[in-house]
Symmetry: D2
Subunit: 390 residues, 4 copies
Amino acid sequence: MLAKIPYSKTNDYTREQADERIKLVSSETNSNLHHISQYSFDPALVAGNIENFSGVAQVPMGLTGPLQVNGEYASGQFYIPMATTEGTLVASYNRGMKIASLAGGVTTTILDDAMNRGAAFIFKNAVYARDFGKWINDNFESLKTISEETTSIGKLKDINQYQVGKIKWIRFNFTTGDAAGQNMVNKAAHRACEWIHTQKPKGLEGFKFGTQLDSDKKHSLINALTVRGKKVCAEITLSKELMEQVLHTTPEKFFKFKSISTLGAYIGQAVSNGSHIANGLTALFIATGQDVANIAESSAGYYYGDILENGDLYFSITIPALIVGTYGGGTGLPTQRECLEIMDCYGAGKVNKFAEIAAAVALSGELSLASAIIADEFVASHDKYGRNRP
Amino acid sequence: MLAKIPYSKTNDYTREQADERIKLVSSETNSNLHHISQYSFDPALVAGNIENFSGVAQVPMGLTGPLQVNGEYASGQFYIPMATTEGTLVASYNRGMKIASLAGGVTTTILDDAMNRGAAFIFKNAVYARDFGKWINDNFESLKTISEETTSIGKLKDINQYQVGKIKWIRFNFTTGDAAGQNMVNKAAHRACEWIHTQKPKGLEGFKFGTQLDSDKKHSLINALTVRGKKVCAEITLSKELMEQVLHTTPEKFFKFKSISTLGAYIGQAVSNGSHIANGLTALFIATGQDVANIAESSAGYYYGDILENGDLYFSITIPALIVGTYGGGTGLPTQRECLEIMDCYGAGKVNKFAEIAAAVALSGELSLASAIIADEFVASHDKYGRNRP
Amino acid sequence: MLAKIPYSKTNDYTREQADERIKLVSSETNSNLHHISQYSFDPALVAGNIENFSGVAQVPMGLTGPLQVNGEYASGQFYIPMATTEGTLVASYNRGMKIASLAGGVTTTILDDAMNRGAAFIFKNAVYARDFGKWINDNFESLKTISEETTSIGKLKDINQYQVGKIKWIRFNFTTGDAAGQNMVNKAAHRACEWIHTQKPKGLEGFKFGTQLDSDKKHSLINALTVRGKKVCAEITLSKELMEQVLHTTPEKFFKFKSISTLGAYIGQAVSNGSHIANGLTALFIATGQDVANIAESSAGYYYGDILENGDLYFSITIPALIVGTYGGGTGLPTQRECLEIMDCYGAGKVNKFAEIAAAVALSGELSLASAIIADEFVASHDKYGRNRP
Amino acid sequence: MLAKIPYSKTNDYTREQADERIKLVSSETNSNLHHISQYSFDPALVAGNIENFSGVAQVPMGLTGPLQVNGEYASGQFYIPMATTEGTLVASYNRGMKIASLAGGVTTTILDDAMNRGAAFIFKNAVYARDFGKWINDNFESLKTISEETTSIGKLKDINQYQVGKIKWIRFNFTTGDAAGQNMVNKAAHRACEWIHTQKPKGLEGFKFGTQLDSDKKHSLINALTVRGKKVCAEITLSKELMEQVLHTTPEKFFKFKSISTLGAYIGQAVSNGSHIANGLTALFIATGQDVANIAESSAGYYYGDILENGDLYFSITIPALIVGTYGGGTGLPTQRECLEIMDCYGAGKVNKFAEIAAAVALSGELSLASAIIADEFVASHDKYGRNRP
């Protein structure tokens, strides 16, 4: 029987307490846990970010760029910090950023913005559930007032409805300022649900919070068709010459390759016809203190390309559920905050800027990998950089 | 114009080179990058894991458990290291592990195992493409020999085929020992594709590597219906008494709640009817040097539950694409290796054990969150632990 | 070389012209085409319904019922005409109707109503496409006026938007009175698109009509999450006693069976977790002159069931894209009109009534087949009725 | 209260009995049911095809073609009978057939062939369920022998497996000769399941027949990725000149249009990126006595196109679940058999020929509608032919 790990209590975020946990586990498992204990900050800082604090994972970080971004919020050149243990990833994205910058930079646009949480309201029958839909619309202003009492930042934007049988799913959509906002929205939506319950809409039997139509921590088609976090588009135009000289391919070859990839994604129902959005965003998320589990949602994205009349290639990536924050969560922790500051993206008023940069990073990686595959340089470059792989 | 970051070259994994990058970026962006530079290992260690190495992300780690696992490879009690910046996550999983252990532990089973890579072979017409399918079957042994020349570990298991029009997608499935194996399989599959090309099957016009039916770094239904990485099942039986006393709910309430959740996941086409598999696996992946971007795939999972004849609740989670390794990738880095060693999961012969533990962790989190939502303790517990949220 | 079939021209809907075609094909193919030529109406009646009119398919029809429907538009007992060539189908639905009536009848509710058509508007870049979304909202009243000029019946209800890259898909939703309305909506939406084009919204390069986000003649998740045609729910409550005595099963067994079926539908991404909605609706559609190809969309539907506190079973089917009409299309043809008249569903003001009856028919079939499978009487009953099968 | 309709009993397929039903319903509902009673055959013929036989639906039929098909089974010119009540449909398909024939005809290929039925086997735990998978493989020959005892035609081809938790879904795939084969496969699979049950595989608790992974009468991704019925491909090459002169478009415009349509189908998760496969197949199915409800499955299909090096357009449609028969079901009924005979497709040894013709018809309709939309002639042609629409 292994001993219990001393559990987090208020005000116990001290190096002593952390070391005690390390010592216990070390002794119980005969492990030498030297490196986990090496960190450069006061544990008091992580109260609110973790329980049972014991040390850190040191995740290698590469600085890349500069990347030229031409957005509405992010405009200029940016260095991009990427934390990963996967060889070639940084090299590949760095190459993509170089090419993107050569081509004049990545244009970025925020298309939509909302964080969602919902509940299933269960009625005596389908008529009550349907009429509740009208009740919701009629009471929108009250729901807005009530739910916003729980937050100084979140604003109720609109409410979606879906009905099956006697169940009406309600999905509340909030803007959440510079926070990713899942917790903020949890509280606000929960308050709204409780208030609805007290109002006794006709035929209501009860409600179940969550129940998946808000699709937290998992991709869903509802998220992709609407928005979760930011819906962001990154675009670039690549001249024929650049594609030939730098990417060793042509707009036509690229277009055909992606047309087959899109068909492949479609028939296999992949959540993205992009190549590897997950790679770059994960490395950026770890570096900047994002909720990395949201890669489950933010890794989905749609490529669309076109050959323009002058023969150049239009190339875009649209990410429907990019969940990011520049305030709250892990963004204020030491290395994470430094990474945000490199891009001048820490704190209030920066989340759209950061979302645009993230989308530009994703596009850079798509550009790099897709062209490497087309030019058949993909396996060779992995051989070069991923040297110690089995 | 920002200055270029000195690019990784062979043998430049030194603290000097890393600091030079930090200094440059610090100076160009007027940032104070103190913490990123704090790491406890020789940068030479991360050659092969990252390019442009500049420092580390320090991700807070919580030690949790012990968790009782009753698997075919993992049997006994385990402490679980989790690296995250999301308050409440560790507390929630820790609670789940406690309950799971109280209930006798989590039973784990590896159902299937393969890493995949494919290509689209394009023919003159659909007849050639169809007949190529037979050619592939007839040449399986040659394909096995050829592809396995690139690896001492990977073994070609079988080959899937899908045809649309004159395109035949081929998906090679390999076992990859204790490595997650994406790079291994890239090389082996690429070699097989090149060999096919030299054999000039009738009517072949060319092939495009990748093209999405292997669904790398993105969820797809093909992955979910077959396997990518390990397909693992975690199961537990919860007595009526335990559910009432500890989870403050009943088997019947739980069953109904999940039946509505499953319907919600189905109609919104969420990739999981589980609650938040992504949370626990992401924290475990960061701690143990996994390729965290694979959360895109590994976050999908299926809950199935049943009320047994004696009234107890059967509860299971099946994860069809759990992509993990205990050798290669980031597993050998300092903090990462220590975390694997805590569970005696570092190195050769350990990957199935680690996959089973990971599935047990996922189940613990499902247990904890679902029951908190049902007992309506969800928002309250986030308030308690996620204290500094906006 | 086969001879050309004389092509339909205005006013050629005569028996002579039809017989000439039959004679030609008969002679060219050495076939004896006696039965096709047997019809009981003046061919002039089918002008507007078919070109190259040559005769009829005689599809066997069974009269079933009575079925008790308790809807907002359909209230009372109805005989149901079903045209099919599949043995057992009529018997199975008839059994379901009997049981449903015994249980007090099927309660039906129309949840939503719209026929859709759309187009992809292509812009110079994503910003223009996004801002066009606002333009559409600002110009809703103009779009309504313009589009409704093409129809005396259709009313523009709302407009959905979806953006990927520089493409903005617009989906116009109309109510269409008693017609299924696809053609009506085609014209109205096309007029709206042309008008938009003349207004030169900033950055617009062109539009492509259709392009799949309206999902005509095919199931899509967009249709299922919104509505296409009528979204209708049919519900019934089955007492424990009835289930045991008549269906030879119990609420608990039924509930568990459907819980596994729903999981099966979810993991295989079937468009329905119902058993065979397509069967009953197809037979009803053929009998009543509906556009039978819409079975592609109308066959999708969601089962949701619950065990009530008193132990009875709540059972519902929600069909999100039931496309029906009681006016226009084939509804006025001789046998088709007679079938509608049997249910007092022919002509103006009847479409909601007919939609409710159709949903009640679908539920009857679900009830019958699911309980037959559970009681393991399924294969036996097919043996009994499908006598001449190989 | 409406009177009960006299129920079908053995040997009651007489005109007297049918008329009695008509009279009863006519009298109870005050309807004049003249036309339903007009049919040209002895009701004894429809025993096994319908219960409660009362008359017929007379569905207008248009003869179209000739269509040039260059298949492995269908080779030459064919007239195509289409039964529909939707104006423009026949004209549109006829135009497509003309163009297809002008272009040298449609090349057709049967890619795969199987009818499926399955069951969920439920075990004590996931280990038993997994090991049952091996048991199934080891007992394949016995399962083949046992299941084939129920049919002189069906042959067990292979067995798919899918596991979630302690449930193992088994999907039996049979070839079914010239019958569509759903009933044949029901019986054979049911026998196999019962036999498995008697063999008491370790840990088996029971099985549920059906449960959706065979996806009968509904589209599913499992069907689309594997096969249900015939998987058929139809291909054509259209010269630049033909496209310009006859279709009033160009290969480039067509290619781009379909690339946007495919993206639209992908993001909305439509089951087809084709335009309206359902239309032509439904009309053909009604005419030829197919099980029309299978349009639920057969309406799904994948377009893939390419611009060839000489600038011509390659155009293909792949239908993964074309469910057809030329023997059994409704194929032997009077008008239905005549329609099959027009194409020399009635009876034994003809099913592959018919499947190829059906796919060629589907391609003709795609060609016609897509080019009409691109050339913007779509709404105009509906105006012309669908004259009596509201």
